[in-house]
Each structure stands twice: as C-alpha cells, then as structure tokens.
Symmetry: C2
C-alpha cells in the first residue's frame, strides 16, 4: 500500500524512491494505485506542456527552465513521453542525454513514459501522474512530448500552458499549420534565435496569429537562445501571465471537464474484459451475418 | 426510418440522395442510425486510406485511381476528413476543387467529414460510414486525410491498406519519421517522380524500410507522376497484393479487434450524460476536497 505521507516527505527531502514506486504502480494501473489516486488532494500547481519537432531544442529549453527554478529553491517534476516505435529511439536517447545534468538533483524528478501499452490509455496515465505530482510538493510540472502527432495533441489538453518550440526555418512554419500546433499552443518559442532570418520568422508567426487566431486567444511569441539562456526570463514571464489568466478563466473549467470525460472513458474501458471480447469476436466474426455494431452492443 | 433496399438501389442507379441522407443521420448519431447500422451486412470491400502532407498530390492521385476504377465499371466511395480548424480552410478548398470532376459522376460518391464535433468521436463516425459503404454496393472505399496529425493515425487503423503519399524532398523523409507515418503506412507513394532527386529519395526510403521495418511488414514503395497517371497501374497492383495478404492474415483480426474496442468505448461514452457531468463538476470542483478520480467514479 502506498503511503502518501512517506512519498511527500521523500519529495521534500529530495529522495524520490517511494515516488518512483508510486509512479510505477500508477503506470501499471494497479487496484492500489486507483485507491491511492482517489485519496490525493492536488494543489493548483502549474502544468506546462512543451512540444515541437525534434531538433527544436526542447530539452535545452527545459534544462534552462529547470536551472532557473532550482536556483529559486523550487521543485520540478518532468514527465516525458517516449514514442515507443523503434524508429524513434535515436532521437529519444539524445534528448535524455541532454537532460542528464538534472537526473540526480534532489529538486528535480524526471520520468519517461512509453507512449504505448498503458491500459486505459497514455492520457489517463499522464493525468494520474500529473495529479500525483500536484499533490506531493512539486512547484512546477513539465510534460514534454517529442515530435508532432497524436500524443502531443492529446497531452496538450492536460497542460495549463502549452509551449510549442520551433526554430527559425521557413519549413517549420508551414509544418506547424499542417499539424495543428497552432490550435494547441498557448506560447510559441522561437528557439535558436541567433540564426539568420529569425526576425522574419517571428514576424511571420505573429502575423499569422493576428490573422488566424481567435481574438480571445492569449497566444504569445517568445524568442530564445536556450543554449545561452537568452529569453528564458521573458518566457517565464509569459508562462506566468498565461497561468494567471487560465486559473481565473473559463478555460480552466473546460479543461477540467475534458479531463473528467477522459477519465470516465478510461474507467469504463478498464472494465471491459478484452480477452472475452477477443474470444467472442473470434467466434462471431466467422459467422455469415456478423455485424460489428450489433456485436459491440454485447459489451454494453 | 432509413430503408436499406432503397439506398442500395439508389447507389446501383447512381442516385446518392438517400445515401447522403443516411450519412447525415449517421454523422448526427441518431437513434435511427444506430439501429440501421446494426442491420447492415457489410461485404469484404477494400478500404484504402490515403494520407500524407498537403501538396504531395493526394487528390490528383485519388483522381487517377477513381478514373481507373470508373473505367472498369466499378463504384467508388471517397470519404475525406476536413480538419475543422479555420487555419486549414485554404488547403481544403483546393483539395475539393481538384476532385470536382467526380462530384456528379454516378459511379462516385464523395463526402467530406469535419474532423470535430462528432458525438462519440470522428473515428466511430468513420467506422460507421465505411461499414455503410461496404454494405450498399461500392467496390472501393477511399478514406483521405489531409495533413499529419492525430486523425490521420487513428483513421489509418480503419483502412485495410494505408497509402502514404510523399514528394521527393529530403525534408519529407525526416518529417515522416517524426510523425510516425512509417508505422501506419502499408504503401509509400513517391509522387511527382519527375522531380530531380526522385530516385535518390526512393532509394533512401527503401533503405530506411529495410533497416527499420519489421520483417513481417509488407511495406512497398511506388513512384508515380499522378498528373500524368504514371505509376497508377503499379500502385493498384501493390494495393491489390496488400489486400490479399490482409484478408488472409492475422492483421485482419487485429484490426477488427481494435475497431470493436473503439466502438465499445464510443457506445459507453455516448451513454454518459455530459450535461449532468458538467453540472455536477461545477458543484463539486468548488469544494475543498475535490479529487477528479473520486469524482469520475460517480459516473461509473
């Protein structure tokens, strides 16, 4: 049985052993974990999503954010999502190495989650973990996702503030529109701002936002050179302003509602006996009159 | 009440009025539609997913496929997914215009679906529509998605054969790996094959597949110039071979199982009273001891 007080004390002391065990139980969706989650009283701790294409400098940016927070005596939890595909391993390993400075720091907890194989979905596992982190004494929570795909967009819905990191490259601008990044972004970071054309890129981006984003949207653009820690104070200020707006706005309610719906879906699906569905499907689909909609009703 | 025989007869005669009405009811998730779907007896008609970045020539390729099938006296249903974001409208309109030759043809039914606003999810709406098309006398079903994102990857799971269309451009190759296209592709089409470097690009792609794709994967690469209808017979042959493999393999079972799980989830969520959840959430989340996991259990 997980003991909240011991986990909390561990985090306060920079010992993440019990926290890591709790995370594993939550990832494995144990009955203990479900009860434990229902006992948590999460605080209103910022959840900051950081996403964008590989090579944009997300890890370097996160490094810089961590450094600032650690310097201010804050505690940070970083949850990263690893695409489970074998095609991604190279990039991932690189990212992990870039964050290695913080792996053993007593104010920083870093955990990688596989993007697949979570009973009830990655999203519901991530919701559980962010709630845990919001309950055990962290001051900031970062969710980092690599690449541009399904998981990024879903996970963005868990963050209060979603930061999309880009580099000044004309191709990225087009790519962003394609992949729906503009819809999930609260803040755009244009990293590697010392590159030629950075200013043109930023101006293009701002113009695109003016023309396309709804007037109520708080979309901001910040230029950074993460390796030099340039632009980090500006980014923190923008995140802070966005957090204030979120916590006092209608958006917070909508987010909570979306999370609850996800959770209800995950609970309902966790009760479906997949083996039974598979066995019955094997049997029924061989029959001549098989209809998938009629079949699905059996498990209702 | 929808009448199957009349819809079937309409399709046979090239009159899609009743079919279009049925599609609307299914999109709106009416009670009638649910019963109607349970009465269908879908045939084993190929569902071909076509995806890839904008500008790759998907619509031109689909035009060429339709032309071939129409010439062979076949009937084709094309379901396209429109990202609902205002940021995408320009591209979409262009796509629709490129397919306009076929909009009034009696052997071709084309329908655009918005990517959002489907009760129970786009995916379950798309599953319903493909099942309908498999039941009313079409010979081929195409699902076209624009861009690279969540919907593409989910919808790929509905197609028997997923064709990813690329252009010979070094950037795309990298982009493809990022966005997980290699995981969903059954066939790669390298379109605009008259461009310089096309051969190098194709060889790179083949090498990447050899090195990375599982040995059991049937991944194929076909070069086309869709505007000239070059490579279309080769593409059709590859699709046909893949269809045969799918229909006799384990993959078919896995796909059916995934579809059933999606459908069960959609059915369960359609029974959740969202207004009630919202009202209760408003009430409970204001309380001091609010816990989202405990709250979600109420609706179980």
């Amino acid at each position: 049985m997980m003991q909240f007080e011991k986990i909390y004390k561990g985090v306060a002391e920079g010992d993440f052993l019990l926290l890591a065990k709790a995370v594993s139980q939550i990832e494995n969706n144990t009955a203990d974990a479900a009860l434990f989650l229902q006992s948590l009283l999460p605080q209103s701790i910022p959840i900051i999503g950081i996403t964008g294409p590989p090579g944009a400098g997300k890890s370097t940016l996160i490094n810089a954010l961590i450094a600032t927070w650690v310097h201010d005596a804050k505690k940070v939890a970083v949850l990263t999502v690893d695409p489970s595909s074998p095609f991604h391993q190279g990039a991932i390993l690189g990212d992990r190495i870039r964050m290695k400075d913080w792996y053993l720091h007593p104010q920083v907890y870093i955990r990688s989650l596989a993007s697949r194989g979570h009973l009830g979905g990655l999203n519901s596992a991530m919701l559980s973990l962010t709630t845990l982190m919001q309950s055990v004494g962290f001051d900031y929570i970062i969710i980092e996702t690599v690449g541009v795909g399904q998981s990024e967009i879903e996970i963005a819905s868990l963050a209060d503030t979603t930061v999309v990191v880009l580099v000044p490259d004309a191709g990225d601008e087009v790519q962003m529109m394609k992949s729906g990044l503009m819809e999930i972004a609260d803040v755009f970071v244009v990293n590697k701002c010392d590159r030629p054309n950075a200013e043109i890129f930023i101006n293009h981006l701002k113009q695109m936002i003016r023309e396309n984003a709804p007037a109520t949207n708080l979309l901001q653009v910040v230029g950074t050179i993460a390796t030099e820690k340039e632009g980090i104070p500006e980014l923190l200020a923008v995140i802070h302003t966005h957090q204030l707006a979120v916590h006092h706005g209608e958006q917070k309610k909508e987010m909570l509602f979306a999370k609850v719906l996800q959770l209800i879906a995950a609970i309902k699906m966790s009760q479906v006996d997949r083996d039974l569905v598979k066995a019955k499907l094997e049997e029924e689909s061989a029959k001549k009159n098989f209809n998938i909609f009629k079949f699905a009703q059996i498990f209702n």
